[in-house]
C-alpha cells in the first residue's frame, strides 16, 4: 500500500490536499491557541513570583548570559532548519525533508542538553523546587518548555523513521507539516522565555 501511494503524483500543498489533512491543520492551529493560553498562564505566574527568592539564589545571581545565548542560538537555528523542511515539503522532496529535520533534531538535542546542564547546575547552587516561589515558577515554566522540546524531538524522529517506509504521501505530509508548525511554536515560546525570564531576570531589581 505504501508504495502504491508513494509513486502516485502528489498534489501541491500535499498537507492540505485531503479533508483529513485540512482538518488536522486547522485542529492543530486551534490546539496551539490553547497552548498559548497555557504558556500565558505560566508566564503570568512567573512574572508574579519572579522576585520571591525567599532568601535563596536570585535570578541575578544564577543566570549566565553565555549559556543562554548558545541555547537560544541552537533553538533559533533549528527553527530555520524546520522552515527549510517545510519548503522541501512543498517541493515534495522527501530526501531534503529528512535532511533538514535531522539537523533540526540534532540542534534540539543540543538545546535540551544545555538545559539539563543548566538545571543541574542551579540545583547545585542551591536552587531547588522547594527553595522559593521563584524557584518553583522558574522550573515549571522553563521545564514545561523543555518538556515540549523533548516531545517534539521524539515526535519528529518517529515521523522520520516511519516516513522511510511510507514515503511522502497525503497521509504523511500533514504530519510533517504539523511537526514543523509545532517546532516553530516552541521556538516562539522560547523567545518569550529568553526575554521575560533571562533578560529581565539578569537586569535585576524590581521592574516597576
Amino acid at each position: 500500500m505504501a508504495n502504491h501511494h508513494a509513486h502516485a503524483v502528489l498534489p501541491d500543498e500535499p498537507e492540505k490536499a485531503t479533508l483529513e489533512g485540512k482538518n488536522k491543520v486547522l485542529g492543530f492551529w486551534l490546539f496551539l491557541g490553547g497552548e498559548t493560553v497555557l504558556f500565558g498562564s505560566l508566564f503570568a505566574t512567573f512574572i508574579a513570583l519572579r522576585d520571591q527568592a525567599n532568601g535563596g539564589p536570585t535570578s541575578q545571581a544564577l543566570f549566565d548570559m553565555n549559556l543562554v545565548a548558545v541555547a537560544t542560538l541552537l533553538l533559533l537555528t533549528s527553527s530555520m532548519t524546520s522552515v527549510m523542511a517545510t519548503l522541501a515539503l512543498h517541493k515534495k522532496d522527501l530526501k531534503k525533508i529528512q535532511l533538514w529535520l535531522t539537523i533540526t533534531v540534532i540542534l534540539g538535542l543540543g538545546f535540551l542538553a544545555l538545559e539539563i546542564y543548566e538545571f543541574v547546575h542551579y540545583v547545585n547552587e542551591g536552587l531547588k523546587m522547594s527553595t522559593s516561589a521563584f524557584a518553583s515558577a522558574f522550573y515549571t515554566l522553563v521545564g514545561f518548555h523543555g518538556a515540549h522540546v523533548a516531545f517534539g524531538i521524539c515526535w519528529i524522529t518517529l515521523l522520520q523513521l516511519s516516513a522511510t517506509k511510507k514515503g511522502l504521501t497525503v497521509v504523511t505530509a500533514p504530519k510533517f507539516y504539523l511537526a514543523c508548525l509545532y517546532w516553530h511554536f516552541i521556538d516562539v515560546v522560547w523567545v518569550f522565555i529568553f526575554t521575560v525570564v533571562y533578560l529581565m531576570g539578569m537586569i535585576g531589581g524590581k521592574v516597576g
Binding site: 500500500m1 502504491h4 479533508l19 485540512k22 482538518n23 486547522l26 485542529g27 486551534l30 490546539f31 491557541g33 490553547g34 497552548e35 493560553v37 497555557l38 498562564s41 505560566l42 503570568a44 505566574t45 508574579a48 513570583l49 520571591q52 527568592a53 525567599n54 531547588k128 523546587m129 522547594s130 527553595t131 522559593s132 516561589a133 521563584f134 524557584a135 518553583s136 515558577a137 515549571t140 518517529l158 515521523l159 516511519s162 511510507k166 497521509v171 504530519k175
Partner: protein, 614 residues
C-alpha cells in the same frame, strides 16, 4: 486495488461501545456516564440538604459535609452537566450541519474516555481514605497539605485527566463545524444549537488551559514541594484564584450557552415559527462568549483587588446582562403569535425563561462590588448560581433530552410521565432555592455544616430540604420514563415534532453514516425550507456512492487507562506506577501514529437497504 476493508468490522455489545468512534454512540456513552455522575452528585446534594434540614443536628457531621459540598459541586459541573452537554453536541451537531461524521472521530472517543477515567479516579477517593474537602474551587491555602488530606490529590489528578478530554473534545467540535458543513450551510444558516456549541467549544479551548496550569501548580505544591501558593516561601494564594476563575467564569458560559441553544431550537419548533432575531441571537451568543473572559474577577471582589479593579470588573459583568436580555426578548418574540404546543420539551423551555431571568437578576446584584461584600459567601450566592445552573442549564438539558430523545434512541419519551417530571422538578427546584435568597440575606454563610436554632433560619432551610425531595422525585420520574421508552415497541418517526433543522430529515436513530447523500442546504431552517417548497425531504448535493468510515479502535480506552493508572501513581507517590501508566499511554500514541487507519467503506448497495427506509 485498494487496501481499504470493505466491511464494517463486526463488533457488538460492550466491545462495540469500548471501541466505537461513532459520534452518535459516543453521545450515548457521554449520556450514560454523565447521567450516573448526575445521580451521584444528586445523592450528595440530598445528603447536604438533610444535614441542613434542622438546626444543630449531626446527620453527617462537619468532615463529611465538607467532602459532600466539594464533591457535589465538582461532580455536577465537571462530570455531570458538561458530559451531558457533550452528549447532546455529539448526537446533534454533526446532523444539524449535514455532516457524515466529526472531524476527528478517534480524538472524540479519546475525549470521552479521558473524561470518564478522570471522573472515576476522582470518585474513588470516597473509598480510598476520603474525598476532597476544600470546596469545588479548592482555594489555596486550604487546599494545600497542611489543611487538607489526600482527597485534594484526587481532585487535582481527576480533574486534570477529565479536563484534557474536554479540551480535545472542544477542538474536535470547532474543526467539525468549520470544515464539515454541508454545501450551502453557511455560518449564518447554522441552527442556534450548533452556533452555541461552536462558541462553547471556543470558550473551552481558551478557558481550560488556565485550569490545567492551575492544577499543575497545585499538584507541584502538594506533591513536589513547590511554593506557588505557600506565602511562607514567597508564594501567592491569589494566583490560584485568578487561574481558577479565568477558567471558572468562562466555564459558566460554557455551560449555559448550549442551554440557550437548546431553548432557541425548542421554542422555535414548538411555536412553528422561525427564531425571532436570528442574527442578533448569533451576535449575542458571540458577545456573551467574549465578555465571559473579561469578568472573572467578580468572584474575587473581596480578595482586595482595590476599588478601581472592582469597579471595572463589576461594570464589565453587568454588560453581560445586555446580550442575555436580547436573547430573552427574542425567545418571547418567537413565541408571540406562534402556534404554540406544550409537550414536555417546551414546558422545560418555557419554564427556563423566567427562572433563568431571576438568576440573571441576582447575578447583576452580585456584580455590584460594595453589595457583594455583603452577599459574598452567603446563601444568596448559592441561590444565584443554582438559579442559573439548575433553573437554566438543567432545565435546558431536560428540554433537549425530551426534544432529541427520539432522534438519539428511536423511541419517544412518554408525555404523561414527562409532565409529572416537569412539574415535580420545577416546583421542587423553586422550593429548594427560592428561600435560599432570603437565608443568604439574613446572613446564613455557605459551606457551613450547621446553624443555630431560632435565628430565623429554621423555616427556610426546612422548606429548602423538602424542595430537594421534589427534584429527586422529578429525576426518578425521568429515569422511569427512560425505562418505559426503552421497553415500548413503538418506534419514533424521523420527524416527530414537525422539525425545522436537518437532523429531522434522516431516520431516528440515524444510520452510522448519518446522511445517505450529503444534503444541499438552501436556507436557514434547512428542512423547513424544503417543506415549504413542497419537497418530501432534502435535495441531495451529491450522487449516491460508497461511504468511507473510520475504523473502531480500542486505543482511546487504553490511552486513558494509562493516565488513570499514572494518576494513582502520583497520588500515592509511587513513581514506578507513574512510569508504567505514562509509558502505556505513549505506547498507544506511538501505535496510533505509525499505523495509518485506512477505515472501511459502506457500499452503495448496502446503503439502499439500511438508509432509505423508516
Amino acid at each position: 486495488m485498494s487496501a481499504h476493508a470493505s466491511h464494517a468490522p463486526n463488533r457488538s455489545g460492550l466491545w462495540d461501545y469500548l471501541t466505537t468512534v461513532d459520534h452518535k454512540k459516543i453521545a450515548i456513552l457521554y449520556l450514560i456516564a454523565g447521567g450516573i455522575f448526575f445521580l451521584a452528585g444528586g445523592l450528595e446534594a440530598l445528603l447536604i440538604r438533610l444535614q441542613l434540614m434542622y438546626p444543630e443536628i449531626e446527620f453527617v457531621g462537619a468532615k463529611t459535609f465538607n467532602e459532600l459540598i466539594t464533591m457535589h459541586g465538582t461532580t455536577m459541573i465537571f462530570l455531570a452537566v458538561m458530559p451531558i452537554i457533550f452528549a447532546l453536541m455529539n448526537a446533534i451537531v454533526p446532523l444539524q450541519i449535514g455532516a457524515r461524521d466529526v472531524a476527528f472521530p478517534f480524538v472524540n472517543a479519546l475525549g470521552f474516555w479521558l473524561f470518564f477515567f478522570g471522573g472515576v479516579l476522582l470518585n474513588t477517593s470516597w473509598f480510598l481514605g476520603g474525598a476532597p474537602d476544600a470546596g469545588w474551587t479548592s482555594y489555596t491555602t486550604l487546599a494545600l497539605n497542611q489543611y487538607s488530606g489526600r482527597g485534594v490529590d484526587f481532585y487535582v489528578l481527576g480533574l486534570q485527566i477529565a479536563g484534557l478530554g474536554t479540551l480535545i473534545g472542544g477542538i474536535n467540535f470547532l474543526v467539525t463545524i468549520i470544515n464539515m458543513r454541508a454545501p450551502g450551510m453557511t455560518f449564518m444558516r447554522m441552527p442556534m444549537f450548533t452556533w452555541a456549541s461552536f462558541i462553547t467549544s471556543g470558550l473551552i479551548l481558551f478557558a481550560f488551559p488556565a485550569i490545567t496550569v492551575g492544577l499543575v501548580l497545585l499538584m507541584f505544591d502538594r506533591l513536589f514541594g513547590g511554593n506557588f501558593f505557600n506565602p511562607d516561601a514567597g508564594g501567592n494564594v491569589v494566583i490560584w484564584e485568578h487561574l481558577f476563575w479565568i477558567f471558572g467564569h468562562p466555564e459558566v458560559y460554557i455551560l449555559i450557552l448550549p442551554a440557550f441553544g437548546i431553548i432557541s431550537e425548542v421554542v422555535s419548533t414548538f411555536s412553528r415559527k422561525r427564531l425571532f432575531g436570528y442574527s442578533s441571537m448569533v451576535f449575542a451568543t458571540a458577545l456573551i462568549g467574549f465578555l465571559g473572559f473579561m469578568v472573572w474577577a467578580h468572584h474575587m471582589f473581596t480578595t482586595g483587588l482595590g476599588a478601581i479593579a472592582n469597579t471595572l470588573f463589576g461594570l464589565a459583568t453587568m454588560l453581560i446582562a445586555v446580550p442575555t436580555g436580547i436573547k430573552i426578548f427574542n425567545w418571547l418574540l418567537t413565541m408571540w403569535g406562534g402556534q404554540i404546543r406544550f409537550p414536555t420539551a417546551n414546558l422545560f423551555a418555557v419554564g427556563f425563561i423566567p427562572t433563568f431571568t431571576i438568576g440573571g437578576m441576582t447575578g447583576v446584584m452580585l456584580a455590584v462590588p460594595p453589595a457583594d461584600y455583603q452577599y459574598h459567601d452567603s446563601y444568596f450566592v448559592v441561590a444565584h448560581f443554582h438559579y442559573v445552573i439548575v433553573g437554566g442549564l438543567v432545565f435546558g438539558l431536560f428540554s433537549g433530552l425530551y426534544y432529541w430523545w427520539p432522534k438519539m434512541f428511536g423511541k419517544m419519551l412518554n408525555e404523561t410521565i414527562g409532565k409529572w417530571n416537569f412539574w415535580t422538578f420545577f416546583i421542587g427546584f423553586h422550593l429548594t432555592f427560592f428561600p435560599q435568597h432570603f437565608l443568604g440575606l439574613m446572613g446564613m454563610p455557605r459551606r457551613v455544616f450547621t446553624y443555630l436554632k431560632d435565628q430565623n433560619l429554621d423555616m427556610g432551610n426546612f422548606i429548602s430540604t423538602i424542595g430537594a425531595f421534589g427534584m429527586t422525585i422529578g429525576t426518578i420520574l425521568f429515569l422511569i420514563n427512560v425505562v418505559v421508552a426503552a421497553k415500548s415497541s413503538k418506534r419514533a418517526p424521523a420527524d416527530p415534532w414537525d422539525g425545522r433543522s436537518l437532523e429531522w430529515a434522516i431516520p431516528s436513530p440515524p444510520p452510522e453514516y448519518n446522511f445517505v447523500q450529503t444534503p444541499l442546504v438552501r436556507g436557514l431552517d434547512a428542512l423547513w425550507v424544503e417543506k415549504m417548497a413542497g419537497n418530501k425531504g432534502m435535495t441531495p448535493a451529491e450522487p449516491i456512492g460508497d461511504i468511507h468510515m473510520p475504523s473502531p479502535s480500542f486505543l482511546p480506552f487504553l490511552m486513558s487507562l494509562g493516565l488513570f493508572v499514572a494518576g494513582y501513581g502520583f497520588i500515592y507517590h509511587n513513581y514506578v506506577v507513574v512510569v508504567i501508566g505514562v509509558l502505556a499511554t505513549f505506547a498507544c500514541m506511538f501505535t496510533r501514529s505509525v499505523k495509518d487507519d485506512p477505515g472501511y467503506h459502506i457500499h452503495e448497495d448496502e446503503l439502499e437497504e439500511k438508509g432509505v427506509k423508516a
